[in-house]
């Protein structure tokens, strides 16, 4: 018992010494709490790194919290940020619902909240400062348009959906379906959720290949690159040449997909811009200066194909 107490006391003493210098920043330095969904995909990691780099460049003290895909962890982190008295909070939500209580608390504490990436279902838009987001519906449309041009509108498509209930999955599906609805010979023949992960993408694709004759599948449409990469593995294992026998189109534009495209394994990807930190911090700084801020800031990405893939891959992995 005595030893334990000695240990605790010395631990406290050491920590006490170390903390003084590191925590004492300038008073006018901005402290922003950032609650991220997790680190489930390559895109998510680029997104986190982009926000962290942006904060460093601006001299913002960024408190980062990874929620490990759990809303309860996110709510806890946000409440910790509020208790800590940060200047602003940036949230990339796991799901759309359930944010009213904690955002009400932030509002009461006078802390502006910026929603990035996925959406939140909120009736009262005074609960947040602004939302920075990609136009997911447009991404789905871009992917759909490319595939329709490529196949002349005649294509039996299998779809790998993102996480059930996630905005990205719902909206990308909406945009894509909107486009192919104009082509009577284009049809989604099978669709299932693969949770935005590579492992599930492979698993579900294997199921698809067992369930129907691979020769009847014209294209794979994946709601993100990770699932597409998983599907590529499944197809190769089944002796099918992905990108040739079956076209592959996805969204996100993570570095790995450019390598796959350069190798001819997938065909096209729509970029989901990970650079949402800049606009979010711009909005926070404008708000703190007393300026008014738009309620929705859109970030848009382009479609990339095999032609530029090798070049893009080098560009993206060099930096």
């Amino acid at each position: 018992m005595k030893q334990l107490i000695t240990l605790i006391v010395s631990a406290i003493a050491i920590a006490g010494c170390g903390s003084g210098s590191s925590e004492g920043g300038a008073d006018d330095q901005l402290t922003v709490g950032f609650s991220q969904v997790g680190s489930e995909s390559g895109w998510r990691t680029s997104f986190t790194q982009a926000v962290q780099a942006e904060a460093r460049d601006r001299g913002i003290d960024l408190k980062f919290s990874d929620a490990q895909q759990k809303q309860e962890n996110q709510i806890r982190a946000v409440r910790s940020f509020i208790a800590q008295g940060v200047d602003a909070i940036v949230i990339a939500p796991v799901v759309e619902t359930g944010w009213k209580p904690v955002l009400t608390e932030a509002k009461r504490a006078g802390i502006p909240v910026v929603i990035v990436d996925r959406n939140m279902a909120l009736e009262d838009d005074s609960l947040y400062l602004t939302r920075v987001a990609s136009d997911f519906v447009e991404e789905g449309r871009k992917a759909g348009r490319w595939l329709m041009e490529e196949t002349g509108g005649d294509c039996d498509i299998v779809e790998l959906q993102g996480t059930v209930g996630a905005t990205a999955a719902i909206d990308r599906m909406t945009g894509f379906n909107e486009v192919i609805a104009n082509y009577p010979d284009a049809e989604i023949v099978m669709t299932q959720t693969a949770d935005f992960t590579r492992a599930r993408g492979k698993e579900i694709m294997e199921t698809f290949l067992r369930a129907m004759d691979p020769a009847d599948i014209c294209a794979v449409w994946a709601h993100n690159d990770e699932m597409a990469l998983g599907a590529v593995i499944a197809m190769k294992e089944a002796g099918i040449d992905p990108g040739d026998d079956i076209l592959v189109v996805s969204v996100d534009a993570v570095p790995d997909i450019f390598k796959a495209m350069a190798d001819g394994d997938t065909n096209a990807t729509v970029e989901l811009s990970p650079h949402m930190g800049g606009p979010a911090f711009d909005a926070i700084e404008a708000h703190l200066r007393g300026e008014s801020v738009e309620k929705l800031i859109s970030v848009n990405g382009d479609l990339f194909t095999q032609e530029t893939a090798a070049e893009e891959y080098q560009k993206r992995t060099a930096g």
Binding site: A15, K63, D66, Q84, V95
Partner: protein, 323 residues
Amino acid sequence: MIPARHAPVLVTAGLFAALFILGALQYDGFGTLRVFLNLFTDNAFLAVTAIGMTFVILSGGIDLSVGAVIAFTGVLTAVLIQAGWPLWLVFPLVLVIGGTFGAGMGCLIHFYRLQPFIVTLAGMFLMRGLAVVVSERSVPIEHSVYDAVNAAGVMLPGRAFISAQAIMLVIVLAGALILAHYRRFGTYVYAMGGNAESARLMAVPVARTTIGIYALSSFLAALAGIMFSFYTSSGYALAAVGLELDAIAAVVIGGTLLTGGYGYVIGTLVGVMLMGLVQTYIAFNGSLNSWWTKIVIGVLVLIFVCLQRIRIPTRAATGSARE
């Protein structure tokens, strides 16, 4: 000076105090009543689940279905409320469903002599599947009572807030303490975990107790599901994934022996609070990867399992640690 059987709980409480002081020295706003009370609010649903789990583990069993029961209860509650059902009907209904489900698992475990691990694993898949069938998408709850309860509570100086969640947790805790230490049911639970065979010889009603234990665990998980629906104002089929493991970890960190027969309900609460404090510390730090929470909990569980080996060499020597 200190009875050996209290040592695990005291070590956990000591670690809690040490981490709290450490955080208070390092970060502004950490060493406050507000942060302390936030732990009760933010972990109320986990603590209620873990209290139920304590009874299960004390009896020598395990319940892997609780996380899925929370999700199912949350989704069903949300869907029924949005369909216009009155709250006074919805809450008792989902609690009865939870309790009955647990009693069913208890029956299978006792009468068919099945492993609790397998039965509750099946229960977990069943409940998670049902939750997704009820609604794939997360269902928002728009109800004046929800807004009122979420706003209700006692505001103390320094923006410290005793929320309805925290009050509910304290009520459940009080009930569980009475049940474990001042009721015959508690005696039976400890006796079964100590030695199921001799418990039977000592005329412990094993069937009734086993069914009661799993019914209680699922009932409390359903209650936690309702609390979770308040916490997030919604029901989501993929909520509380893996929460059963957090609950088990909290029970172990709280000093309960995984093989049963030994431990305290209050220890579980301290275990949950310690886990919550680690999470808070990492959020305040802001540069540590939050996966460190898992690493710290893993190390703590390991330490406590080893500690139990050392402090309680033979159960026969210490006897029942009930009083």
